[in-house]
Symmetry: C2
Subunit: 456 residues, 2 copies
């Protein structure tokens, strides 16, 4: 018997690329709690951030403007891969035998393979415009480092990436990608920095950590007047840049003649969730729309579902400002799951504020469940998703099955934040039954939360 | 100083997906010489191919119809990634400081990352329709094997891939990709077949070869009444399926308000060259258009530039029909360059006929030259090209520089057949100066040509 397959994408033209990002700050029901200078305990002022960020990004970080114009120069580069397509997942619906409609926005079409260039490009742009010559950053598995290397190559900026040693050795492909785009990649801890040399002296065999790599990248930027630092998630301006995803998706849902009952995205630092969800959160806040917003996190790092809303550091080394956010404590070390991008102890302050105001929900799933959903998706829809994105798929699948149970024609939209071409070893582990589920105990969470600084 | 960057893509809608493939056979100035049954020496009849191909593909192989309807079921699946974008390479033009305009058609947007699914999908479709349960094929680096695995997963066909042993061990990612889509991958030579067991008995440490893998895949298909064999290049129907690239590109060039003076593509077996070039060859033959068609091959495997037009076998084991084509001799073994997809001793009979009728040209470049061009391209345009595709880029760059020398506003169109995300080790080798250029001697070519069968 011959089975007919159905694929459908909703495409926008280049002229439909949004001309402004959406900043949710002025629309938040409860005003955002300011980040604090860890030295003085007082709210951050622009000068605190000036050594490591360009002024325009600092302004955006603190802006109360609802719409932030996207510079023409940035739109011109967005044209390389944007607008990204919105797909209706007919085949997945069929396999789940659900009355729900499933749509997904696909951000894996960027040259780096994920949503990260959406913010890497404007960050490189503003730095270049303010005369910066070099950007430094950290990277784990390499998604962010390669996105910034790409952006740097486009603007003629030097990019220096501190890549966690264990990933540097185990994941050579992302490193090669960064180098192909001209990025300089160092295994962290390195001999380039005081902090790196200290870490090596303490333990020559240290596997490194994101915490160490952040400190190295910040140290280099702070000491070099021609260099600044760039971060790929968590911060307000990063979440704002990513809203281009949701703004496009709203137009495309309109083309499809639907409006989502629920918007789903995976959650690590928060930028891809914010990117697709905030434009719909605006509808919820301003127009009273009933759309639900669901963040899906790994059971191994349940920041939103089991963390605490508190002031905490963004890094392990306690160098960053204190941010009001959901956190598992800056000393919490998540297990080594394949979704490297979701292994973060905190959540973006903007996402945390939306969560605290009960405008969104969060759920957590084990990685084997997520890979099972990702495998089903790959065989139905043809795209092999990034491990991080399988969490969004799992969330969407659960919504579709719940709709089936309740006989509802639920409209589900999820963000497929990236492809898994560089993560096939994880699928190999899954197929071979080698993937471990989290054995996270409440005691480990309690232990992590003990590291919270004593600030009300 | 701030440098403004420019990117532009020409997008077609789903409704613009072509509804017929272009078959160049009836338009060839000199009729195609028939392939021969190696046993009888007589022209092939459909029955000769029936054990290994479905009847509809055999019909297409021999068809004199100019347009072959694309089944609706195939168009529905093409919608997964087609129409593919056409880009104007403004940044590359700027770096080359050329008055030429450079356009490229990008086929790396398919889930498998190259143009191969354009034919994998219809091949799987026709097999499924004729009741076939299993497809067998060979693969080198894995581009074709993963495309067929994807197509098989979409139609519920079992796919069995014989992957050259040395690649099976060295390139695990493509293997994992095939498995994620449900393909069964065997290291070739394997114990599954008589021929494989014979090869292993003769040399337990053999690295395998494409020749051996073809023989294994054909043997399995020939012996199993529920199985057929699928080939990813060379054959007429494969070239015909790929013309969807050029048909779309023509519409997109029209949108851009240009018509190419020259069309460039890399050349291995011939399918991606045929795909973009044949629709323009039709304009040349039927409308007297002056467009030049340039195939770019590796200096290590100069089939069109140094081969001979003769009847030869498609495989090393002398199992296939005899085809009239440019060939270096079926015993010619090209050096192990990174462009695995261009390491083929022959050329598609259709491309060979177009070449013999002087409707096209061919050039050959060394791999270091090609990677240099690919690196420039990646840093200008953001996409990291497959090693095979860097040959097309090198060809286009040479055309642009020649136009500059002559002060011509030449319009150049090339086919970027795939991305290089799985080939980053090759870029790493290039950056480290480890890539070797070909040391191919004329004596090696003469030696290869001695293996030509004695047929006029």
């Amino acid at each position: 018997m011959f089975i007919k397959k159905k694929f459908k994408k909703y495409l926008l033209g280049e002229k439909d690329i949004p001309t402004a990002w959406y900043n949710i700050q002025p629309d938040l029901p409860t005003p955002l709690q300011p980040s604090l200078n860890p030295g003085t305990g007082k709210p951050l002022v622009p000068e605190d951030l000036a050594p490591i960020f360009p002024m325009e990004l600092i302004k955006q970080e603190m802006s109360q403007e609802r719409w932030i114009d996207i510079p023409g120069e940035v739109i011109d580069i967005y044209k390389m891969w944007r607008p990204s397509p919105l797909f209706r997942a007919y085949e997945l619906e069929k396999v789940l035998d659900t009355p729900a409609k499933i749509y997904y926005k696909y951000e894996g079409v960027s040259p780096a393979g994920s949503h990260k260039p959406n913010t890497a490009v404007p960050q490189a742009y503003y730095n270049k415009k303010e005369g910066v010559k070099k950007l430094t950053t950290e990277t784990g598995a390499g998604q962010w480092g390669s996105s910034l290397s790409l952006a740097g190559s486009l603007f003629g900026l030097e990019v220096e990436v501190y890549m966690v040693k264990v990933s540097y050795n185990q994941k050579p492909y992302r490193k090669m990608m960064m180098q192909t785009w001209g990025g300089k990649v160092f295994s962290s801890p390195s001999n380039n920095t005081e902090y790196g040399r200290k870490c090596i002296a303490e333990d020559p065999n240290t596997p490194g950590s994101l915490g160490m790599a952040i400190t190295e990248a910040v140290e280099v930027a702070a000491k070099d007047p021609n260099a600044k630092y760039a971060l790929g998630s968590v911060l307000n301006h990063v979440c704002t840049h990513q809203t281009i995803i949701g703004i496009e998706a709203k137009k495309q849902m309109e083309m499809a003649g639907d409006y989502p009952d629920v918007v789903v995205a995976c959650h690590g630092g928060g930028s891809n969730f914010a990117g697709i969800a905030f434009p719909f959160a605006q509808d919820k806040i301003k127009k009273g729309k009933k759309v639900r917003l669901v963040a899906v996190e790994p059971a191994a790092c349940p920041t939103l579902t089991k963390g605490q809303f508190a002031y905490d550091f963004g890094d392990t080394g306690m160098m960053t400002p204190l941010m009001a956010m959901y956190t598992l404590g800056h000393r919490f070390v998540p297990a080594g799951i394949h979704s490297g991008g979701l292994r973060y102890h905190g959540a973006a302050p903007l996402v945390s504020a939306v969560m605290k105001d009960k405008l969104m929900e969060a759920v957590a799933y084990e990685q084997n469940q997520c890979f099972a959903a990702g495998m089903t998706f790959a065989r139905c829809e043809g795209i092999i998703p990034a491990p991080e994105s399988t969490h969004a798929i799992k969330g969407a699948v659960e919504e579709a099955l719940d709709a089936k149970k309740k006989g509802e024609k639920r409209v589900i939209l999820f963000n497929l934040s990236g492809h898994g071409d560089f993560d096939l070893a994880a699928y190999d582990d899954y197929l071979a039954g080698r993937l471990k589920d989290s054995t996270l105990q409440n005691t480990a969470i309690e232990e992590g939360l003990k590291s919270l600084p004593n600030i009300k």
